[in-house]
């Protein structure tokens, strides 16, 4: 799965005695560069610490969590992998969160559902190697062959002599040994796992429930002040003049600092005025007293309505830049026995992570120390160094705190840069910057809106022979805006002979970015919604069409040689599984009508993203314009093992409800002249408990290394829902969020 990476191990003696074992992965420079680690990409090969485990003389096993924890559960699930191969008791394990350190850990990014696939093998090897070293040390001490020793729950036993000891007893001796080559260490057989596959509660749970400080916003430093950062009302606005006297005189306010940035809100500092006070609420209240003149000219005309009109014009006009062309889609469409066409669209979305963006910073003696809830600490550190003009990366310390939700928002570093700039203006004073919810909704890196003009052609036998999509998205100068790109491998690509994907871009002043299952969260709605239409035109249902398209089991190499291969057999297996668990009835598609007059039906969708194969069925009913989701069946294949069923099922449930909320709660970010119209949870609603359906999860285990679960369960639920609405009412949903016409 990560063929370019090789693990090597380094052992050392802990300061207080005991074994420390570090596993490094050699990462070629071009892989690093692709991951965004420009700072170290110059080196031919970079050694990145992927696992760090230590065994103290008292037997306590400490495992370092390299990547940030935001609720995705890897702070618990990845150490479980090490602990299992080490064969220790989970109760012996302590987990420490690593600070940002590119030279040591690499990018440390939590995103893309990448942590699990990239960690699975090296973490197993590390645990197994540590166990092998402990065994060797015990064998030497007792002068017995290693092969006669066994381990269980952190203890070593020699059955023949009746001797036994704890790992801690031989940990210091083991530290003197040369670590084995990782590939040579025997790994457990799947049936031997004692920790992997167990439902283990999240490691920080007890502390969260006692209200202990864990999150970035909980950081407290002596003498700390609290800050807000007022930015232009419109995206892309520049600061012209600020009269700050009245704000300075407001209760509790200590400093008011106008800051001029470089105008690049993506990786630099947005212009703004910082208000720093004894309490955050006082700083926030003082915003009303600011008198700031902004230049908003750049944002003129950047409105949802204008974007939609331009997209409509582009779709009328046709054409666009070619992204992929297989066969001759135009000729195949022209000669098709039956044609289906439709337009699909979806809005900008915000992330709404519940912990507002925040960062604590202390600038002192030419160095800055930061406490940041971030998904990508290494990149943030590099950007802060650049913004503050500090000579070395070591002048920036980033402590990684628990994140109160991420969803991709905290892959961006605007709030870190703002905190750093404010702290630099107030040397010696620790400052905690907190965004209001309004700041957060209005200055997000939004999931980009998009428009699709779709055409499909069927032959006389009802087989799909041609498919084209003209995608209208955002971008400038030939490049696509962040997170607004197409996926040229989405169904039915690679499954039919004639295919055309084209793209037209238009500029936007809104900052766009990655939202959980980026690209897929929108593209799957289009792909599986439209293919449901195609299936109906062909007189079948979507699962039947998908199974027909997938055909015989085979592995399709990634388009253009980049990305991950697609295994049609794995796709078939999850589809067949969910059809069984949901008791899907192939025909007829007629909806049931319940006694209350609701129209009720099931809908289906499949998607493959982030290495995960997911097929989902939604059972929904419609009464008037109200949609109720009763039950969702999920079948997913993320490889051979579910490392922690507790965390895994939480990810799937969260993704399902997240997707349902995107479709049903009324989520849409709208903009007028660059000003975002939504501001808080009253006009940007999140899922609440009553929306929650029953969710049935079936894992299809396949002989593949385990992959991540933060994202792939989300995309199919949206088209499964809209397909269910169509089956129930005959109304086709081609625009999100769902709005049903009043009868």
């Amino acid at each position: 799965m990560w063929p370019e990476r090789r693990t090597f191990l380094k052992a050392s003696l802990l300061a207080g005695g005991g074994l420390a074992l570090e596993a490094f992965i050699a990462v070629p420079a071009r892989v690093l560069a692709a991951a965004g680690g420009a700072g170290a990409a110059a080196a031919a090969v970079h050694a990145e610490l992927t696992a760090f485990v230590s065994i103290a003389p008292d037997g306590v096993v400490t495992i370092t969590a390299r990547n940030p924890e935001m609720g995705q559960g890897t702070k618990t699930s990845l150490p479980m992998i090490v602990a299992d191969e080490l064969d220790c008791d989970w109760d012996q394990v302590r987990i420490v969160q690593a600070d940002a350190d590119f030279a040591r850990y690499g990018a440390q990014t939590a995103g893309g559902s990448n942590s699990t696939p990239s960690s699975w093998l090296p973490m197993r090897q590390t645990g197994a190697a540590a166990r092998a070293m402990l065994l060797q040390a015990a064998a030497q001490q007792w002068s017995v062959p290693v092969a006669e020793l066994t381990t269980s729950k952190g203890r070593i036993a020699h059955a023949a002599s009746g001797r036994s000891c704890g790992y801690g007893d031989v940990a210091s001796a083991a530290a003197q040994l040369a670590p084995p080559a990782p590939e040579s260490v025997p790994l457990k057989q799947p049936g031997e796992f004692t920790v992997i596959g167990r439902a283990i509660a999240g490691i920080d749970g007890p502390r969260v429930l006692r209200g202990e400080p864990l999150f970035g916003i909980d950081t407290r430093l002596p003498g700390m002040l609290y800050a807000v950062y007022e930015v232009a009302p419109a995206h892309g606005g520049r600061l012209v003049k600020a009269n700050v006297e009245a704000a300075k005189a407001a209760p509790g306010v200590k400093h008011v600092v106008p800051l001029t940035g470089d105008g690049d809100a993506d990786s630099g500092l947005a212009d703004g005025v910082a208000i720093v006070a004894t309490h955050w609420w006082l700083a926030n209240e003082a915003r009303a007293k600011l008198d700031v003149q902004w230049d908003l000219s750049r944002a003129q005309g950047h409105s949802t309505a204008a974007y939609r009109a331009r997209a409509g014009e582009a779709l009328e006009k046709g054409g666009g830049t070619e992204l992929r062309r297989d066969g001759d889609p135009d000729a195949a469409l022209a000669g098709a026995a039956k044609r289906v066409s439709a337009r699909y669209e979806y809005p900008f979305l915000a992330h709404g992570s519940l912990e507002p963006q925040n960062c604590t910073a202390l600038f002192k003696g030419g160095k800055v120390e930061m406490w940041a809830p971030t998904q990508a600490p290494a990149r943030g550190r590099e950007l802060v160094q650049k913004l503050l003009g500090l000579p070395a990366l070591e002048d920036v310390t980033v402590h990684v705190t628990r994140c109160g939700g991420g969803f991709g928002r905290r892959l961006m570093h605007d709030y870190m840069l703002q905190a750093a700039a404010i702290a630099k203006a107030l040397p010696g004073t620790p400052v905690q910057l907190i965004w209001s919810r309004e700041d957060d909704i209005r200055r997000d890196y939004y999931r980009a809106a998009g428009w699709h003009g779709l055409e499909a052609g069927l032959d006389a036998d009802g087989r799909l022979i041609a498919f084209t999509d003209h995608f209208v998205t955002f971008g400038e100068g030939g490049s696509t805006a962040r997170g607004a790109n197409f996926t040229p491998t989405l169904p039915p690509a690679d499954l039919i002979p004639n295919l055309g994907f084209t793209q037209t871009t238009m500029p936007t002043v809104l900052t766009t970015g990655w939202l959980r299952a980026p690209g897929s969260n929108a593209l799957c709605f289009m792909s599986q919604g439209f293919l449901d239409e195609v299936a109906q035109a062909a007189g079948k249902d979507l699962p039947a069409l998908m199974l027909e398209l997938l055909g015989e089991r085979r592995v399709i190499p990634p388009f253009g040689g980049r990305g991950v291969p697609f295994d049609t057999g794995r796709a078939r297996a999850v589809i067949e599984k969910v059809l069984r668990t949901s008791a899907w009835s192939v025909k007829p598609l007629a909806a049931q009508t319940d006694p209350a007059g609701a129209r009720r039906a099931k809908g289906f969708a499949f998607y493959f993203c982030h290495r995960g194969y997911f097929a989902e069925v939604v059972d929904a009913s419609v009464t008037g314009t109200e949609v109720t989701v009763h039950k969702v069946w999920v079948a997913g294949d993320v490889g051979s093992h579910i490392i922690n069923p507790f965390g895994a099922e939480n990810q799937v449930r969260g993704a399902i409800i997240d997707g349902l909320a995107q479709a049903l709660a009324g989520q849409a970010i709208e903009v007028v002249d660059g000003v975002v119209q939504q501001s808080n949870f009253h006009d940007y609603p999140l899922a609440r408990m009553p929306i929650t359906p029953e969710i049935n999860i079936a894992w299809v285990k396949s002989d593949n290394p385990p992959t991540g679960l933060g994202e792939p369960a989300l995309p199919p639920v949206i088209p499964a829902l809209t397909n269910a609405i169509h089956a129930a009412t005959g109304t086709r949903i081609r625009s999100l969020p769902v709005k049903l016409p009043a009868a």
Binding site: V208, L209, R210, R437, M689, A698
Partner: protein, 165 residues
């Protein structure tokens, strides 16, 4: 102005403007950071505390209006019988993902169980719909409340794994 607040069984004197919401007094004057800021408009419930046993959104509760009322926060709820039961059920069910909203969820659930020891599904939805969980741990929140109320056996509902292949 100085206010004498009764919080978690102790009296704290704070000198802040009377309009300042209790949330910020707890978090920034008293260091009780378990109560969370989510929206500032009483829309998400992350800041829920008990005031004389009633659940209140502390982000919209001026400190001047608290008076002599007894305030209970997440830091203390484990010392109550219902709070301890809820915390145990929460951990046994592994409710949380990011955990940021969970203090507010527990506080709302504790107030509900004090008033309605054996809640129906509708009771639970009504009492908890003011608390947003962005990670959407709602199935397990409901399960944990039912376990704490003695309405179902501890542990995860079996139906979650009926179909493991």
């Amino acid at each position: 102005m100085t206010y004498r607040l009764h919080i978690n069984g102790q009296v704290h004197a704070v000198d802040v403007p009377g309009e300042m919401p209790l949330l910020w007094v707890l978090r920034e004057s008293l260091g009780l950071v378990g109560t969370k800021f989510g929206c500032g408009m009483a829309l998400c419930g992350a800041c829920t505390v008990h005031v004389d046993g009633q659940p209140q959104r502390s982000c919209r509760l001026p400190v001047a209006s608290v008076g002599d009322a007894q305030v209970t926060t997440i830091e203390h709820i484990g010392h109550t019988e219902i709070g301890a039961r809820l915390q145990k059920a929460w951990l046994d069910t592994d409710v949380m993902q990011c955990g940021y909203c969970q203090a507010g969820q527990i506080m709302s659930a504790a107030a509900m169980l004090a008033a309605t020891p054996k809640p129906s599904r509708d009771d639970i939805h009504a009492a908890m719909s003011g608390n947003i969980c962005r990670c959407a741990c709602y199935n397990r929140i409901e399960t944990a409340i039912r376990i704490a109320a003695g309405l179902e056996p501890a542990g995860e509902p079996q139906q979650e794994r009926d179909h493991v292949a």
